[in-house]
């Protein structure tokens, strides 16, 4: 007889296999007949043996890293709470058939919550009410289906919740348990924990929590009579984060209208006018006075609109015909071939990731993917890139400021978030970077980039009056309120409490279903079934509908919006950022077909209103008008700020530069090479990369780790279409350490790095587009604004000289953390920690033929190693550009066997990396007249190229050595031995530091 036995429902189910454990002494269900009304069952599922409890081993490692080396063991179990009219046998059956693996796990079912049994202290973790819980939702649906298909099972389910329980063997105090609970097992912004043992007993709740319900009440904000101080206060306490002139503009508007705004109107304005949504600093008028750009001397420059005069000006001046959509849509679009365009976007999700790294990073990548889905009529996401800037994972625990998450945990969390979201979406994470600097301690940066493929006839969109407004995907809850305004605030040591509502957990499968349905509706045989689409960004429906209806007007009935639970106020429904949700404009004649497709894909799609022709945004709740705004005022009423900016070079340049290299000075060159390879910014990121699916969709050509020994690839290459050989290189550049010297050169270096990374793998510099993501400590002072101006100007100069149009960008301009003087004294940290001004440049380059791509590992012994170098900060942009083009031509001609860029750690590290990746050795002699730098200095615009002798000689680039089989790296300097090391030992030094996410 064939299989299926596992899914048979039995009358009696017992724990499968494994020796009975005293602490899991099963409650005898049969003896406790439950009543037939509402009942709560607790199902606990645990691995059958500790050998199968990998999660517990992982936790134990973290516990040891926390300094609790005496903890002997951890046991983990999963908990499902089943609520409903359910008898014991049915609960048993659901547990046996659905919730427990018959080979690897065992379970027990008990009525109600289960207190600790036995003497081992336990920690139980539950999600907070209202937090997205995909497992609970899936389990509820699957269990209901089970009940429906097995008619002999009695009862019905109203709710499922989940939890996790840990037994901590060897804990010595309740205090230790609390540290483990709060610092490893849970995050208080989305979860709560209960400790039982060692003289502490947190009572478990007696029933599943439900969110509170608020009755309807239309609220106005008395704004018209407030004085300036009161306006400022309202801006802060109402979480509006608007400046005084902005508050005054709103006040005057409502004075003219002769009424007070409703809370919803004020919130809509705050969201739409937030730095996050409108980039007001970048669009402001700036008078810059300070050092000239790239030249000695002082200048005064007036920018009418910083963005238009720098970043965007480069794009418009370059005027490339292959730029199909720039700075208008949710993503930029360039031409790929005659049929398809490439949509490209990168976002940051810094503040949510500071509070809840896992959820913050997951919803960050989720949001960036939705930007690609919301580009034109929808692009299909084909790859992601993620960049993190964090404090070193070995940061001293005792110096950690209150409410700041330790960087080791942040790293684990953000990697986990990207992994679980990207992998589930089926979008390969093909590249990225991790950059460590202590100044990112309280403000970790999480950049998420995504690339999509879009048919060229699907790039334009515009809703028509009369089109329905349809929301599809995730439902609205209270989580995610104030995401846009929150991101415009400075973090403090109370931010975790104040803004926990801005933190969300993602549900990738919901987004995947929306994507599947959207692409079916886009490619419908009768033509695209919708006229426009956008994602629900940080401002929720307020910004999505507000943006879509900008030229028409829109009217919305909020009571139609699907909610996670009853009781949300109308303004909460309007501004809450629901994840995994898109807003569509659907013409009446297509509505039926559109809704049918979404229903077939099991995606909730609901009509909530209509686009109008009155140029007004009208919001109703059960027939009450709760807000009505002129589109004109909403989108163009924001007063334009005029600011002064200034900048002068720091006095002690060399000292600042030297600070980047922290290890001891008196090492010999070989020792220094080992130390450089172990620097966190250079060391292997394999631990991270292998947690990301980087090959799903079958488009991979150059992977993030290359060569037989897995060295660091300069960039990733994909084949977007299966049926052609044209490819796409994805690369990034990031040089925040140079901001300490001059943000102008920092920006140029970042553009240069992104370009040379793309060139190394075979990208065409004449068909390369870039993105800017600015993360600034703040822009309140003239100096910090001056730093921003310099970076923008550097980006402009580099983009113009190299011919690289910017196609999209994003900024996050408030990344400072303030703490009390006592806390600063205790931790020895400055009272305000500011991140270094950070600019991420992401590049997408067309690769003419993927079969000609090059990887950075050495290929063949006796090949020559040539150096191509024209450091842009010394020779200028023109000469650097010529070098880039010359190298690119050589690589694309097929003459180069391996190419690698020189970056952190200088020439010596780059040669070592090429050896490490291949397992081959190299013998080099670097004459100081061919390359005058110290071999460890970071340097821009420099490539290492492996070529056969003849090609190397013809190239005209200086030959500095050759590849050899003996797995030894020797570097001579002007004839005398400088470095001599075994490649396998170098490899170990490079792999060791981040092997488990940091020591």
């Amino acid at each position: 007889m064939m299989g299926w036995q596992k899914n048979q429902i039995c009358d009696k189910v017992e724990c499968t296999g494994g020796a009975p454990n005293p602490s899991m002494d099963t409650h005898r269900i049969a003896e406790k007949q439950p009543p037939s009304e509402m009942h709560l069952w607790c199902v606990r599922v645990r691995p059958r043996s500790s050998e199968l409890d990998g999660h517990a081993r992982d936790v134990l490692t973290d516990v040891h890293q926390l300094g609790l080396a005496h903890i002997e063991r951890v046991h983990s179990s999963k908990i499902y709470f089943l609520a409903g009219e359910l008898d014991a046998a049915t609960a048993q059956n659901i547990a046996a058939v659905l919730l427990t693996d018959p080979v690897a796990e065992e379970f027990e079912v008990s009525p109600g919550m289960v207190e600790r049994q036995g003497s081992i202290p336990t920690i139980e973790v539950h999600p907070l009410p209202g937090v997205m819980n995909p497992v609970a939702l899936s389990a509820l649906q699957a269990a209901r289906k089970l009940l429906a298909t097995h008619t002999h099972l009695q009862g019905s389910l109203s709710k499922v919740e989940t939890g996790r329980r840990y037994e901590i063997v060897g804990a010595q105090s309740a205090n230790e348990l609390e540290r483990i609970a709060s610092q490893i097992l849970s995050n208080s912004s989305v979860e709560r924990w209960f400790i039982d043992g060692l003289e502490r007993h947190d009572p478990l709740p007696s029933e599943l929590p439900t969110p509170s319900i608020a009755p309807f009440e239309l609220r106005h904000v008395s704004l018209r009579s407030l004085n300036d101080d009161e306006l400022k206060k309202l801006s802060r306490t109402g979480h509006l984060f608007l400046s005084l002139p902005e508050m005054q503009t709103i006040q005057q508007h409502y004075q003219k209208l002769d009424r007070d705004p409703t809370d919803l109107e004020l919130e809509s304005l705050a969201q739409t006018w937030s730095e996050h949504c409108v980039h007001k600093t970048f669009k402001s008028e700036i008078n810059y006075k300070g050092d000239d750009f790239g030249k000695d001397g002082q200048v005064e420059v007036h920018f009418g609109n910083l963005l238009k005069d720098t970043i965007a000006a480069a794009t418009f001046n370059l005027d490339r015909d292959w730029c199909l959509s720039v700075f208008e849509d949710n993503a930029g679009v360039i031409a790929f071939d005659d049929d398809y365009g490439i949509a490209f976007k990168a976002e940051t999700h810094n503040h949510p990731s500071a509070i809840e790294p896992y959820g913050g990073a997951a919803t960050g990548i989720g949001g960036c993917i939705r930007d690609i889905m919301g580009c034109g009529l929808g692009a299909k996401p084909i790859a992601s890139m993620d960049v993190f800037c964090l404090a070193p994972p070995d940061f001293d625990e005792s110096r950690l400021p209150k409410d700041v998450i330790h960087p080791r945990r942040t790293l684990k969390g953000v990697v986990g978030g990207v992994r679980d979201y990207g992998n589930r979406m089926g979008i390969p994470t093909v590249g990225g970077a991790i950059y460590f600097d202590e100044r990112y301690l309280a403000n970790p940066l999480v950049f998420c980039g995504c690339v999509g493929l879009i048919p060229r006839d699907k790039i334009d969109k515009q809703p028509n009056p009369g089109d329905f407004i349809v929301v599809a995907g995730g439902k609205t809850g209270r989580d995610g309120i104030h995401g846009a305004t929150f991101s415009s605030a400075e973090l403090t040591d109370t931010h975790a409490d104040e803004f926990s509502h801005a933190v969300q957990i993602g549900n990738a499968i919901e987004e995947k279903k929306v994507l599947d349905a959207q692409l079916l509706a886009r490619d419908h045989p009768t033509g695209c079934l919708f006229t426009a689409v956008t994602d629900c960004g940080a401002g929720g429906l307020s910004s999505a509908v507000g943006e879509m209806g900008i030229l028409t007007g829109a009217s919305v009935d909020l009571e139609k919006v699907p909610l996670k639970y009853a009781g949300l106020r109308y303004d909460e429904i309007w501004i809450s950022e629901a994840q995994e949700r898109m807003v569509f404009a659907v013409a009446p004649e297509n509505l039926e077909d559109f809704l049918a497709i979404f229903a077939a894909e099991e995606v909730e799609a609901t009509t909530i209103g209509q686009f109008t022709s009155d140029k007004k945004l009208t919001v109703r709740y059960n027939e009450h008008i709760v807000g009505q705004l002129d589109m004109q005022f909403l989108h163009e009423g924001l007063p334009k700020a005029a600011r002064n900016a200034t900048w002068s070079a720091p006095k002690n340049k060399t000292e600042t530069a030297a600070k980047c290299r922290s290890h001891e000075a008196n090492l010999n060159p070989t020792e220094q090479l080992f130390a450089e390879l172990s620097e966190l910014n250079t060391a292997s990121k394999e631990w991270v990369i292998r947690q990301y699916d980087h090959e799903v969709q079958g488009r991979s050509v150059i992977k993030p780790l290359v060569g037989p020994e897995f060295g660091p690839s300069d960039a990733a290459v994909l084949r977007p279409r299966y049926d052609t050989d044209q490819g796409l290189a994805l690369a990034c550049g990031l040089c925040p350490e140079l901001s300490d010297i001059d943000p102008y050169w920092m920006a140029i270096a970042a553009v240069d790095e992104a370009l040379r990374n793309a060139i190394c793998v075979g990208g065409n510099p004449r068909r390369t587009a870039i993105l800017d993501n600015f993360c600034w400590p703040g822009v309140d002072s003239e100096e910090s604004l001056g730093a921003l101006v310099r970076a923008c100007r550097g980006a402009y100069d580099a983009a113009m000289a190299y011919g690289l149009p910017f196609v999209s960008g994003k900024d996050s301009l408030n990344n400072e953390f303030s703490m009390s003087p006592e806390e600063a004294k205790r931790t020895g940290l400055p009272k305000t920690i500011s991140i270094p001004p950070t600019l991420l440049i992401s590049a997408v380059a067309i690769v003419e033929d993927v079969n000609r791509c090059v990887s950075m590992n050495f290929k063949t012994s006796d090949h020559c190693i040539a150096i191509a170098s024209a450091p842009v900060n010394r020779v200028g942009l023109r000469e650097a550009m010529e070098l880039h083009h010359k190298v690119s031509k050589l690589i694309c001609s097929g003459k180069v066997a391996a190419a690698h860029d020189v970056s952190d750690g200088g020439l010596a590290v780059s040669i070592a990396e090429m050896c490490i990746a291949s397992g081959l050795g190299a013998t080099c002699d670097v004459a100081s007249n061919t390359f005058s730098d110290s071999l460890f200095d970071p340097i821009s615009t420099t490539y290492l190229l492996e070529m056969p002798l003849k090609d190397a000689e013809q190239s005209g680039f200086p030959i500095i050595g050759r590849v050899c089989t003996d797995s030894k790296l020797t570097i001579h300097r002007d004839g005398s031995e400088f470095i001599n090391a075994e490649v396998c030992e170098l490899s170990q030094a490079w792999r060791e530091p981040l092997q488990r996410g940091g020591r």
Partner: protein
């Protein structure tokens, strides 16, 4: 060669359907992509096909455990037509999540192997692993792996070892790919019956070293087939190795027919006879 009728199942969270469809097209088939709900509503659709493919992904988020919810759907709605498909000489290929689903429905290892003997669970390392692996074909039984030998070996029912070892290289990308059996004897018994289709091996042919065995699978089991040899499930992705530029070492050494594509070619030569 006769045309082979191939169905690829789609479901919420399945995300490798595009490349699986492409692989079948590359080897000359014209596969149909059908949503599981459509199949559940109209199971007779299956009657028209010879090979069902369940691609990888995270069906229903892999919430609860990998493949559990999709397995439940298949078990409750498609049990009879799936069995009928196998009985009339058809085949099933489950890749990654598809393999987890086949094990959790009991279609693998199937036959007289009792339920509760085999499962696929969390990796020993407790984390997602993305890397290329080397596998040894461990049975002569499987139509997707050794199409020429299958007939003969199915009748002999003894000694399923290949006379000449065959190695395949493909990527794994999963967090729950560890094949665990109820006891060590059950693993041995699977092997004796020729149901262990593929084993992870390192360059010295050991199957228990990490990372050559990326997930801690018992006996290095990377894939299982049923006793007909026409149902194969495997954790590694043949669908991510259909072009020479997929292999991580392609920039350094010349590639022949990609091993992944070979699996689809084998199926075509077996069912297209």
């Amino acid at each position: 060669m006769k045309p082979v009728r191939i169905l690829v199942i789609r479901a919420a969270g399945i995300n490798c359907d595009e490349e699986v469809m492409h692989c079948w097209q590359l080897v000359g088939a014209n596969p149909s992509l059908v949503h599981i709900n459509e199949l559940a509503n109209n199971p007779s659709i299956l009657d028209d096909f010879q090979i069902v493919t369940i691609p990888g992904g995270f069906s229903y988020g892999d919430d609860i455990a990998a493949g559990t919810i999709l397995a439940q759907s298949i078990a409750s709605a498609l049990e009879a037509p799936m069995k009928a498909l196998i009985d009339r000489g058809g085949g099933i290929l489950g890749i990654c999540n598809g393999f987890q689903v086949l094990v959790k429905t009991g279609l693998l290892p199937g036959g007289d192997v009792e339920s509760g003997q085999v499962t696929v669970t969390f990796n020993e390392s407790a984390k997602f692993e993305a890397r290329w692996v080397r596998m040894e074909v461990a049975t002569t039984r499987c139509a997707f792996l050794t199409p020429d030998l299958t007939q003969e070996s199915a009748s002999s029912k003894r000694n399923f070892r290949l006379t000449k070892p065959v190695y395949l290289e493909m990527p794994v990308e999963h967090a729950e790919g560890r094949v665990v059996t109820a006891s060590e004897q059950s693993a041995e018994s699977l092997s004796e019956k020729g149901l262990v289709a593929l084993r992870y091996v390192d360059m010295e042919n050991r199957h228990d070293t990490y990372p050559a065995n990326p997930n801690g699978s018992w006996a290095g089991i990377a894939g299982l087939c049923d006793e007909t040899g026409r149902v194969l499930g495997l954790m590694p992705h043949p669908d991510r190795n259909f072009a020479p530029t997929h292999h991580p070492q392609w920039t350094g050494r010349k590639q022949g027919t990609p091993d992944g594509l070979q699996v689809f070619l084998n199926a075509m030569s077996y069912w297209g006879r």
